[in-house]
C-alpha cells in the first residue's frame, strides 16, 4: 500500500483498497498528525454504559465532536458531566475504524467553573514543565545527611516558620537556619517567592532549602501552583524540599522539588538528622575507638613480652658461651702462671731488692739472697761447697 491514495490504482479494479484499509489508514494519519489537545465545548448526548465507559458529544455553535472517555480515565471524576454543561477536555483525536467515525479519546474532563479553570491552568503548566524535563525524577537530588546551613523560604511571621524552627532546633541544633522572607499568598506572593528563591544561589555554603507555608484553602495555595514559582524552585542550585500544608492536592512546586513534605514540620524533619540517634552512633564509635586502642596495646604488650623472652634467651646463650671461653682461657693463663712453675719444684732467687738472680756470677760466696718456693720464701746465703 502506498503512502498516498494512488488515484490510478484506485481507478482500476485490481488496485482497489478494502474499506478497512481506508479507515485504518485514516486513523493512522489522524493519530500521527494531531497530538492530544484541550478542547472546550458543551456536553450533549451523554451516556454512561454498563462497562463504565462514557460516550458524549461536544459541540459549539458550528460543529460537533464525538467523544469517548474510558472507564479507567473517568473513574477519578467524582460525578459524570450533565448535558448542557460547559467543559474542558484533554483528548487524542482518532478515527473509530468500524464506523470511520472521527472522535476524541478523552483522558481528562474539567468543568469550566472556577475549579475546572484552575485544573486546566494547572495541567497546562504541568505539561510545560514536563516538556522542559523539569518533572524528570532523575533530576531529584538526595538531601544532605548533615546540613549546616538550611534556607527557609516562607513568610517570616507564619506558623510554618515557627514549626520548622521548633523541629530543626529539637533534632539538629547544629544547623543554622536562614530565613528568606516572602509573602506566600496574595497578589505579591508570586513575585516575592521567585525573588526569594533566586537569592538562594547566592548564599554561601548553603546545603538545602525548604520552601513552603502552612495549610490553607486551594486559593491560598495557588501561588505554589504558579509555573513561574515552580521554575524558580527548579533553578535553585541546592536540593529543595517543598512543604505546602495540604493533604490531597499536589502542587507544581511539589512536583519540581527534590522532595515533598506534607507539612513544614515534616520538611524540617526530612532535612535534619536526629541528634539522639547521632549521639548513640558517636557512643558506639567511642567504644570501638577505646577498644581498638586497648587491643592494640595488648597486642603490643604481647609482642614486647615475646621480644623480652627472646632477648633473655639470647643473652643466656651468650653468657654460657662466654663462661666456657673464660674457663678455657683461665686454664691457659693458669698454665703460664709462675706459681704453677714453682709448684712443679722450681724456685726463684732474688736479692734483697727483689731483683731476680739468674747467673752463677750473681752468687759470690756469702751473698745473702731470698729463695721463693711454691709455698713461701726462705732466707739463704751462697757458701763454698
Amino acid at each position: 500500500m502506498g503512502d498516498a491514495l494512488g488515484l490510478f490504482d484506485a481507478a482500476s479494479g485490481e488496485g482497489a483498497w478494502t474499506v478497512s484499509q481506508v479507515t485504518r489508514r485514516a486513523r493512522a494519519i489522524v493519530e500521527q498528525g494531531m497530538g492530544p489537545v484541550w478542547v472546550r465545548g458543551e456536553i450533549t448526548s451523554f451516556k454512561a454504559y454498563q462497562s463504565g465507559h462514557w460516550y458524549f458529544t461536544l459541540r459549539d455553535a458550528r460543529a460537533q465532536l464525538r467523544c469517548v472517555m474510558w472507564a479507567r480515565d473517568n473513574r477519578r471524576l467524582r460525578t459524570p458531566p450533565a448535558d448542557g454543561q460547559q467543559v474542558f477536555v484533554l483528548g487524542a483525536p482518532t478515527v473509530w475504524e468500524e464506523k470511520a467515525e472521527f472522535r476524541l479519546t478523552v483522558a481528562e474532563l474539567l468543568g469550566t467553573d472556577a475549579d475546572g479553570a484552575w485544573r486546566l491552568a494547572f495541567e497546562r503548566a504541568r505539561a510545560a514543565l514536563e516538556r522542559d524535563g523539569l518533572l524528570d525524577p532523575a533530576r531529584r537530588r538526595p538531601l544532605p545527611p548533615f546540613p549546616r546551613r538550611i534556607a527557609v523560604v516562607t513568610s517570616p511571621d507564619g506558623a510554618a516558620l515557627r514549626d520548622i524552627v521548633a523541629v530543626a532546633g529539637r533534632r539538629w541544633p547544629a544547623a543554622e537556619l536562614l530565613v528568606v522572607p516572602a509573602r506566600v499568598q496574595g497578589a505579591e506572593a508570586e513575585a516575592e517567592l521567585c525573588r526569594a528563591l533566586g537569592l538562594l544561589g547566592r548564599i554561601p555554603d548553603l546545603d538545602v532549602a525548604i520552601v513552603g507555608r502552612g495549610g490553607g484553602s486551594r486559593e491560598d495555595l495557588w501561588t505554589f501552583n504558579s509555573e513561574r514559582v515552580a521554575r524558580a524552585v527548579a533553578a535553585v542550585p541546592v536540593p529543595v524540599v517543598s512543604a505546602v500544608g495540604h493533604e490531597t492536592d499536589v502542587t507544581l512546586c511539589d512536583l519540581v522539588a527534590d522532595a515533598r513534605a506534607a507539612t513544614p514540620s515534616a520538611a524540617a524533619e526530612a532535612v535534619t538528622p536526629d541528634r539522639e540517634e547521632q549521639a548513640r552512633r558517636l557512643d558506639g564509635l567511642a567504644q570501638r575507638l577505646a577498644r581498638g586502642l586497648r587491643r592494640r596495646g595488648e597486642r603490643m604488650e604481647e609482642r614486647v613480652a615475646r621480644t623480652a623472652d627472646r632477648i633473655a634467651a639470647a643473652i643466656g646463650r651468650r653468657l654460657e658461651r662466654g663462661a666456657a671461653r673464660l674457663a678455657a682461657a683461665g686454664g691457659r693463663l693458669d698454665a703460664l702462671s709462675p706459681l704453677r712453675v714453682l709448684a712443679r719444684g722450681y724456685a726463684v732467687a732474688r736479692d734483697a731488692d727483689g731483683r731476680v738472680l739468674r747467673r752463677v756470677e750473681e752468687f759470690p760466696d756469702g751473698r745473702a739472697f731470698r729463695l721463693r718456693v711454691t709455698d713461701g720464701e726462705i732466707a739463704a746465703r751462697a757458701g763454698g761447697g
Binding site: A174, L177, V179, P181
Partner: protein, 76 residues
C-alpha cells in the same frame, strides 16, 4: 555574607569511622595507634559539641537595594 564557622559533623563522623576501622584492622606501631586514637578523641569531642548545642541559630537574609545580601537576627 559570611561562610559558616560551624564544624562539619558529617566530615568528622566520616573521619572518625575511618580512624576506628584503621585502629581495629591495620597493623600499626604503637606511636601510630596512639596518634590515631588521639585524633579520634578530638574528633569525637568536636562532634559531641555539635550535638550539645542548645539552640538552633535563626537569622534572616535580606537583599539590599544594591543587590548585596545582608544577614540579620530574626525578631519575634
Amino acid at each position: 555574607m559570611t561562610k559558616h564557622e560551624r564544624v562539619d559533623f558529617g566530615a568528622e563522623l566520616a573521619q572518625l569511622e575511618d580512624i576506628v576501622r584503621r585502629l581495629e584492622g591495620e597493623e600499626l606501631d604503637l606511636d601510630e595507634a596512639l596518634r590515631l586514637f588521639e585524633d579520634g578523641v578530638q574528633r569525637l569531642r568536636r562532634a559531641r559539641e555539635q550535638l550539645a548545642l542548645a539552640e538552633v541559630r535563626v537569622r534572616q537574609v535580606l537583599a539590599e537595594r544594591g543587590g548585596a545580601l545582608r544577614v540579620e537576627p530574626l525578631d519575634g
